[in-house]
């Protein structure tokens, strides 16, 4: 098992957000974490990488418990995180954003270079010197994914990669995620958009009000429209 999360409970101040969340991600798998706005998807990801101070539970990554480690150490072990709101460094150029994400090559994992990323996201190759703040939403989404890949992760948590993007860019995102899978990476994406998730995922979890409500293959989910209607339909 690449990543194993069990009994994850998180709080923001007095508010209890996650209740005993458990996830299991195998090596090379693409798994979707589905749920509505406010269901706890982003908090799950932020808790896994240690960005939520009040959290309890275990996070096993590559067989080691990382739940007590500071964020930067978790990330350095190859657990990449792409935040929902992209959080690119708007005063830094594309190249410089990549530089911030760069980590030493890791044995047994694909090593990314800016040139590889420019191939994956041709748009970025044309604006290497442009400050991140002067890019479109789609370009920023490519940049934030590329920036995380520069850390040569073996697993990437991708928080809502299709949010607010034009259909054409969403397709490009799907291609990029499949390319990551092709390099042997595990990918966990959080999504509200079932159609997008179906395109790329092997399995899916559904989270609602901080609890995991469903776990199964995409085919299982297709076969049970009542689950989809109960937890995903708007």
């Amino acid at each position: 098992m690449k990543l194993q999360v069990s009994n994850l409970n998180s709080h923001y101040g007095p508010a209890h957000i996650l209740y005993d969340v458990g996830l299991e991600i195998g090596a090379g798998e693409v798994v979707a974490l589905l749920g509505r706005n406010g269901a706890g998807k982003s908090t799950t990801f932020r808790s896994i990488v240690g960005l939520v101070p009040q959290r309890a539970g275990t996070v096993m990554f590559d067989g080691a418990d990382v739940s007590r480690l500071p964020t930067y150490e978790i990330v350095r072990r190859g657990l990449g995180y792409v935040p929902e709101d992209r959080r690119i460094f708007s005063h830094l150029t594309v190249e410089e954003n990549f530089e911030v994400g760069r980590q030493a090559p890791r044995p047994g994992v694909a090593t990314w270079t800016p040139d590889m990323l420019y191939k994956l996201f041709p748009n970025l190759g044309e604006m290497r010197k442009r400050p991140g703040g002067q890019m479109s939403g789609g370009e920023q989404q490519m940049l934030t994914i590329g920036r995380t890949l520069m850390g040569n992760p073996s697993l990437v948590l991708l928080d809502e990669p299709s949010e607010g993007l034009a259909p054409k860019i969403v397709e490009q995102m799907a291609d990029a995620i499949l390319a990551m899978k092709g390099e042997g990476l595990s990918v966990v994406i959080s999504e509200q958009n079932l159609h997008f998730a179906k395109l790329i995922s092997d399995r899916a979890y559904i989270i609602e009000k901080g609890r995991i409500r469903f776990s199964g293959t995409i085919a299982d989910l297709e076969a049970n429209p009542e689950i989809r209607d109960a937890y995903l339909a708007v």
């Binding site: 709080h11 101040g13 150490e73 708007s90 911030v100 760069r102 920036r147 850390g151």
Partner: protein, 627 residues
């Protein structure tokens, strides 16, 4: 014409050191969000260490080696301070960080005197730059020319460092979003330490490079820090280029201001700063702060007025204090009156700081203005004490109206720095305008009326005024104005959405606080029988801050308790040790680290741990405490 050019060149030479120190402060703030008050202390240490290295150990290093070595040694000290002290308080409210670094400043001031002695020291000239060359028929020291070129060179080096090295790129990224940098696998701890060391290195280098130009004194820390605050307020906190431009502006204004208004040269700088703040509140090259943290934020426990029982308790305490003159001697009563005056001063600061969320680092200005107001009335108009006590504080009010108008345009650390700068300006006016204020000699012979001339009588007078003043301030806390003020403090946006005018309310709070501080100051003038510029100096402002902090920033009555404890402790310490600043600085650091909620906050915590029956607020408070 030639004279003006030479004057401009001299200004450029002074700009270099100012730029070095200000850019260091800016870089540190950008990444750590800490305004390092101790930056002036590091500047001074740089000069002292460079003095020792160049005079005693010039052999192994040579002059220039000694200058760089001094800056490196001080930078290591700065890194040590970051690791031992600041790492523990990055999450604390800004006020605590400012106070902690101020505590260090105080300790360094005494340590410098212990190590290097109280005399001014004269360092060696820089080899190769000892002479002067003739420019436009006037002699310009070659060292000034060297300093002039140094500024742009350092700016260029810093630009290369921040744009062409991985470390610099990481620093710029962290300036924008620290959490994201950590989420990309960067260990922020060492990044912070490195940034801090670099900032301190620049400050120390600025100090070390001063030794061929001026003497090394143990007052150079406060004089530079105020100018540096002005520079970063004008240039924009966090912007190195802004620091460069603003350092030149300020240095040139100083160079020419002395020609136009030799009496009050700081006025020109003040005017420019005022204009910049009105047009661009975040400075010429700064960026608006996204979400300034309010001074409050440690606990959320609803305030409530006194119950009947508590009111009776307070009345009992007042009666007991009023009976003290029957038991105490004259010296103790004079000390008691001083403590009472500081109770009122601390309560006025508490009102704007805790209730208004405006942490002022220059509250002494209004204390001092009130004192001068009373003294002017007595000296120049022959007014009796009673009239002077009523009219004198109006000068404090006037100062608060004027300075407050500018200050409330800012918030957080900008507000704190600006209040400090205004207080220093008020101080320098009192210090330099000898014809009116008597300058350093002060105004003497401000004696109370006959009935209050005995210590007991004055004690009762001070008690009466303090009780009424604190009572009025407390009533204001629980008035609609007080509620509005707290709403504005907690969420400026939401309170504006319900129709509260943030700036006007905070301005009003500023004026109320300034007036009561002025009243305390007027009383203080009669207690001492004299007025000096030092009443407005930074230590008085910080005394007030420590009193509020010691009592508990987030309590209603903390200021009173804190003032009594602190003033008594300070007066006792003065009589016990010559190194009072060292001890005081240490006390401040310890309070910030170990006692962040203050004495009253600590007691309230204990009380709420064992909730009593019928206390409706407890359930909500306990819940909120989990935050």
């Amino acid at each position: 014409m030639e004279f003006l050019l030479v004057q401009a060149l001299s200004g450029l030479a002074s700009a270099a050191s100012l730029f070095l120190v200000a850019s260091g402060l800016s870089i540190i703030f950008g990444v750590t969000r800490i305004v390092n008050f101790a930056h002036g202390a590091f500047y001074m240490l740089g000069a002292y260490v460079a003095y020792t290295l160049t005079t005693r150990f010039a052999g192994p290093f040579g002059f220039w080696g000694a200058i760089v070595a001094a800056a490196i040694i001080v930078a290591l000290l700065g890194a040590l301070m970051e690791m031992v002290l600041l790492r523990r308080i990055y999450q604390a409210p800004e006020l605590f960080q400012l106070l902690a670094t101020f505590g260090v400043t105080l300790m360094v001031q005494d340590l410098v005197v212990v190590i290097w002695g109280p005399e001014d020291l004269l360092g060696p000239r820089a080899p190769g730059f000892t002479g002067a060359i003739s420019l436009f028929g006037r002699m310009v020291p070659t060292y000034d020319l060297f300093m002039m070129t140094l500024g742009p060179v350092v700016l260029g080096i810093l630009w290369l460092l921040f744009h062409k090295t991985r470390w610099g790129v990481l620093v710029r990224a962290a300036t924008q979003d620290r959490e994201m940098v950590a989420a990309l696998g960067v260990n922020q701890k060492w990044l912070f330490t490195g940034v801090f060391a670099l900032g301190v290195f620049l400050a120390a280098l600025g100090g070390a490079l001063q030794i061929p130009r001026t003497t090394v004194t143990h007052a150079m820390d406060l004089s530079i820090i105020v100018e540096v605050f002005v520079v970063v307020v004008i240039g924009g906190l966090g912007s190195v280029f802004g620091a460069f431009v603003a350092a030149i502006i300020v240095a040139e204004l100083n160079a020419f201001g002395i020609l136009i208004l030799p009496q009050i040269s700081l006025i020109t700088v003040f005017l420019v700063m005022a204009v910049v703040l009105v047009v661009r509140p975040w400075g010429l090259f700064g960026k608006p702060e996204s979400a300034p943290r309010a001074a409050a934020g440690l606990t959320i426990r609803p305030w409530r007025p006194f119950t009947q029982v508590e009111r009776a308790g307070v009345a009992l305490v007042v009666v007991a204090v009023a009976a003290l003159p029957f038991f105490l001697g004259n010296y103790a009563l004079t000390v008691g009156a001083e403590i009472l005056i500081y109770v009122l001063f601390a309560a006025s600061l508490h009102f704007m700081m805790t209730v208004g969320g405006l942490a002022s680092f220059g509250h002494a200005a209004y204390f001092g203005l009130g004192a001068y107001g009373a003294a002017f009335l007595v000296k120049y108009m022959g007014a009796p004490m009673e009239a002077a006590l009523i009219v004198g504080p109006l000068l404090g009010l006037a100062g608060a109206v004027l300075f407050g108008w500018f200050c409330v345009r800012l918030s957080g650390v900008y507000f704190a720095m600006l209040t400090l700068a205004f207080a220093q300006i008020a101080w320098s006016i009192a210090f330099q305008w000898v014809d009116v204020t008597g300058g350093d000699n002060g105004l003497l012979g401000i004696w109370p009326a006959t009935w209050a001339s005995r210590p007991a009588g004055f004690f009762w007078l001070a008690l009466g005024i303090a009780v009424v003043g604190v009572g009025v301030l407390r009533m204001l806390v629980f008035s609609p104005f007080g509620y509005g003020l707290r709403a504005v403090r907690d969420s400026a946006l939401r309170s504006e959405a319900i129709g509260l005018n943030r700036q006007r309310m905070q301005w009003a709070a500023f004026i109320v606080a300034g007036t009561f501080a002025g009243l305390a100051g007027a009383l203080f003038a009669f207690l001492k029988g004299s007025v000096f510029p030092d009443y407005m100096a930074i230590p008085t402002s910080v005394d007030g801050l420590v009193m509020v902090l010691l009592g508990g920033v987030e309590t209603v009555s903390g200021a009173v308790v804190g003032a009594v404890l602190y003033k008594a402790l300070a007066i006792w310490l003065m009589s016990q040790t010559d190194l009072s600043k060292l001890v005081l600085g240490g006390v401040i650091v310890v309070i910030v680290l170990a006692f962040p909620k203050g004495v009253v906050g600590f007691i309230e915590d204990l009380r709420h741990r064992w909730p009593r029956k019928g206390n409706g607020a407890t359930v909500g408070a306990t819940k909120a405490e989990a935050a």
